[in-house]
Symmetry: C2
Subunit: 338 residues, 2 copies
């Protein structure tokens, strides 16, 4: 962080980001949800999904590709099944509209699912699942995005980065949470490497001819990423397409057409959740058992669990404020008024 960094309290960053959204045709209600989501990413050090994304949000809104005003429509389609039509808006307002009914169904039945369609998800996935674990529930979510990943052994991008996120209560500690792209690297990290002028590690992507490359610009310029872990990551990416799009009624990652909206950056797809009440499992010490297996992993020599670094960054930000380059702060102020 440069010496000109300022440190903003979380609430102040939320207010500033809210102003940016409202200034770009997002309703006050939706702006609040999106601003909190983005500020949480920045606060926790998920920088590729934090303030870095604001220019993309604004560009997509200005292009008319995404509707910031929309009121999502929640559908109660079964005792343990909720659907929501995001109607071309961002995913998070649709998710929050459906969340109370989802939790009610989980508590009543032991498990419930939520299928979101016609939605734009432009953030990290962990903010969607972590709060369930904080309430004692286990949550799994998947979201597809925009075609930028070639199938294992294939030549043409079919999958999005298609992350999978999972959260579980963990006694005596923050929840166990992971959020991982089914691509070898997150698209946001490729963008960051390109801006910074850094090469990537080998095995992350291919150029426009389908040949392996370490150059982030070659990947962004007509190339593509590859799935993590070969054919196994490929299977996960395909499962994410099935659950997020086929099951919800949303679009596949390679299917939506934004060509009429210059500046559009947000994928228009779907998202799927499974949320489980572990109390129904009859195991009263569930959270203690999760803590136990996490401890075994750390004792075996693994440096840290997924989420640990994020929680440490959050703790620091809650004490000192969220570090922000003065120049970036000025840019956000401009986006809030221009």
């Amino acid at each position: 962080m440069s010496s000109t960094a300022i440190h903003l309290p979380y609430a102040d960053l939320v207010t500033l980001l809210e102003r940016v959204f409202v200034n770009n045709a997002v309703s006050a209600h939706n702006a609040r949800i999106l601003a909190e989501n983005c500020a949480r990413c920045e606060r926790d050090g998920s920088l590729s999904h934090g303030i870095f994304r604001m220019a993309g949000y604004v560009s997509s809104l200005k292009s008319g590709w995404v509707d910031g005003q929309v009121v999502p429509e929640v559908e109660d389609v079964g005792p343990a099944f909720v659907r929501v039509d995001a109607k071309g808006g961002f995913t998070q307002p649709a998710f929050f509209a459906a969340r109370p009914l989802l939790i009610e169904k989980v508590k009543a039945n032991g498990v419930a699912v939520l299928a979101i369609r016609r939605s734009h998800h432009f953030s990290a996935l962990w903010p969607d699942v972590e709060p369930f674990a904080e309430e004692g529930l286990v949550a799994l979510s998947v979201v597809n995005s925009m075609a930028c990943v070639v199938p294992h052994g294939g030549k043409k991008a079919v999958f999005g980065t298609n992350p999978v996120a999972f959260a579980s209560p963990r006694a005596g500690a923050a929840p166990f949470v992971f959020d991982q792209a089914s691509s070898a690297i997150a698209h946001g990290d490729v963008q960051i490497a390109a801006r910074a002028g850094h090469d990537l590690k080998p095995g992350m992507g291919v150029d426009r001819e389908g040949q392996p490359t370490n150059d982030p610009n070659a990947i962004l310029d007509g190339g593509a990423l590859v799935p993590f872990g070969g054919h196994k990551g490929n299977s996960i990416a395909l499962m994410v397409e099935i659950l997020s799009a086929a099951l919800t009624g949303g679009y596949f990652s390679g299917e939506f057409d934004w060509s009429g909206h210059k500046g559009a950056q947000t994928p228009f797809t779907g998202q799927f959740f499974v949320v489980i009440d572990p109390a129904r499992g009859g195991n009263d010490i569930f959270a203690e058992r999760v803590a136990g297996i996490c401890d075994l992993v750390l004792e075996s020599g693994q440096e840290r669990l997924p989420g640990d670094r994020r929680h440490a960054t959050r703790a620091k930000a809650e004490k000192d404020g969220i570090p922000l380059a003065a120049e970036l702060h000025a840019r956000l102020l401009a986006m809030a008024t221009d």
Copy 2:
């Protein structure tokens, strides 16, 4: 296959395997379920989980480690939550005992989960999920096993091979099904390589000092496997422990103690299922959409989808019978009578 191979019809192989189980203290009811499961693996060419496993089944039964006679206890613990106590028996009879109630709950609610505990799973996972897809449902299942995988960056085995299996209807074709270990290689394939005297590809495991090795014997002799795809496969392996053991009330992969049962080979853990009715998603063309994304993957240049080779092997076996070395056939006959 040697020139002395015979070809057995599926029904005859089931009958023969059933006799082996009954001859080794398995009840007639449980023997039928286990024999069909094993014969299906052999028929489909899942050789590391087919007849190859029979010696291990018998050894575990003879050791008193697993109870072949047990009647599992199904517990209806919520409108969409089923538990079953396998009471130290094999998993498949427990699964079949709970399956009708599970399906009833899925149809009534849109989704339901099944948590199996105190169970021995010694087979492939795809036979558990594929039939749901044949009935129009989407199924995800995970099972933990015995500690033989070091966490990413760790030195001591904590995880089992912890497979994840997923099955979905696919219009105009066999279901889309994958079944993949969260280790870089399946333990059965390491055993097969050791018997055949073949080295493994690099990056599959470590020796007893925690150093990388390509020697299957060094992995089996105090060494361990590594997760597939680095930290991402690691997260999946940990999720499998949480769902299969913490949530069900079963044991973690490194937790059960079989030291008093010489010859025991079957892991004593738990298994978890999520089964979804896609019809509730409101998308009438779900199976057509799944076929569509599978076609896109193949058109991009991927050679085949997971499950395709298995379905081709099955089709051949249904026509010509299941190929079996005469010597192996003789050994099974001996196991059925000795």
